[in-house]
């Protein structure tokens, strides 16, 4: 009777240990999976940030170059306008009265 009881207890303990081991393995695996997943996510996010950062830099650099070209061309107009003022001043003596 005692031997039957001890065998039964042994099986119960065996089952409990087995369940604990299985649960532990599952937890470890789950933990590993989460860590791997977050690490992948992290890499992707980092790559995305890096890509958009580069694009932004290139965009603003090309914007600056384009602005520079626009300003250089506007300066030519400004110089022409200044030259027109100088030419007009040279013609001012045409308003000296010439009455026939």
């Amino acid at each position: 009777m005692k031997s039957i009881q001890s065998t039964s207890r042994f099986r119960q303990w065996h089952l409990i240990v087995f369940v604990i081991v299985v649960l532990t393995v599952m937890l470890v695996l789950a933990a590993c999976g989460t860590a791997t997943g977050s690490s992948t996510t992290h890499v992707v996010t980092s790559q995305q940030t890096q890509t958009s950062f580069n694009t932004g830099t290139q965009a603003s650099n090309s914007q600056v170059s384009s602005l520079d070209r626009r300003v250089q061309s506007a300066l030519k107009l400004l110089d022409n306008a200044q030259q027109n003022v100088n030419n007009a001043n040279a013609n001012a003596n045409q308003d000296n009265p010439q009455v026939p």
Partner: protein
């Protein structure tokens, strides 16, 4: 023999004397025709008409009016071209066009009056007014061209100020090794634009005062205002060139 050769030499001289004399006379005639006309061109100030020749005075007056109308039309087409290219804003172009139209209409009225004159003295008074009332070459066209210049300066300054945030973003993203130089250029850029703005404001405030009436009523004060406008306009021009140079250097560093 000797006597014969002397005779032939004398004969030759006589033969050449006539053509040489003729040529020199013609040359002197040509010179005498050229010299007075050159002197006339450089020294003539006013064409002449007989004292009572009304039509002569009217015709000459109409030439002066046509010359001014043509100059105003040229200025107008210049303003239209700049407005079409969006270099001048529509309100800026409209203000200058309005001044041109006012002068064109007034010249047209004066032409009508001149054409109807029957008295030479009255016709001469009208011709005198083409110069003294309008002052198209002394006041109107130089002032309107200055207005165009200052308007272009203002528009360029505004466009360059609008670029400041873009430049700042580009500098922030630039390699650290270049940032000190870029920031120094950017600070100068901002300062030059601020200086240009002050000068442009001064020019724009004083420009409307430059009228023929002001010139006639107080020539000394007019000259002083003109000097203020002119120096502000030129200072702004230099400031904008300096800011553009900063921008060009920044663009080269950011490439």
């Amino acid at each position: 023999m000797k006597q014969r050769s002397k005779i032939s030499i004398t004969g030759n001289i006589r033969r050449w004397l006539f053509p040489l004399g003729l040529l020199s006379t013609l040359g002197l005639m040509a010179l005498s025709m050229l010299v007075p006309s050159t002197a006339f061109a450089s020294s003539t100030t006013s064409p002449t008409c007989a004292a009572t020749d009304v039509q002569c005075v009217i015709d000459i007056g109409n030439q002066y009016i046509a010359q001014r109308e043509s100059s105003l039309a040229k200025l107008s087409s210049n303003v239209v071209a700049l407005a079409n290219k969006n270099e001048l804003h529509s309100d800026q172009a409209a203000a200058i066009q309005s001044d041109i139209t006012t002068n064109e209409s007034a010249l047209s009225s004066l032409k009508t009056k001149l054409d109807a004159e029957t008295n030479a003295t009255a016709a001469r008074e009208d011709v005198r007014n083409i110069f003294l009332e309008f002052r198209i070459y002394l006041v109107v066209i130089p002032r309107d061209l200055r207005q165009v210049h200052v308007d272009l300066e203002e528009n360029l300054k505004d466009a360059m100020k609008d670029m400041e945030s873009t430049l700042q973003a580009a500098i922030k993203a630039a390699p650290i090794s270049k940032q000190a130089q870029l920031n120094s250029l950017f600070n100068d850029y901002v300062n030059q634009l601020a200086a240009a703005e002050t000068q442009i404001d001064t020019a724009l405030t004083n420009l409307p005062a430059l009228t023929p009436a002001y010139y006639d009523s107080n020539p000394t004060s007019y000259a002083s205002t003109l000097k203020t406008v002119s120096s502000s306009e030129l200072a702004a021009h230099t400031d904008l060139h300096n800011a553009a140079r900063d921008l060009h250097e920044m663009a080269k560093l950011l490439k």
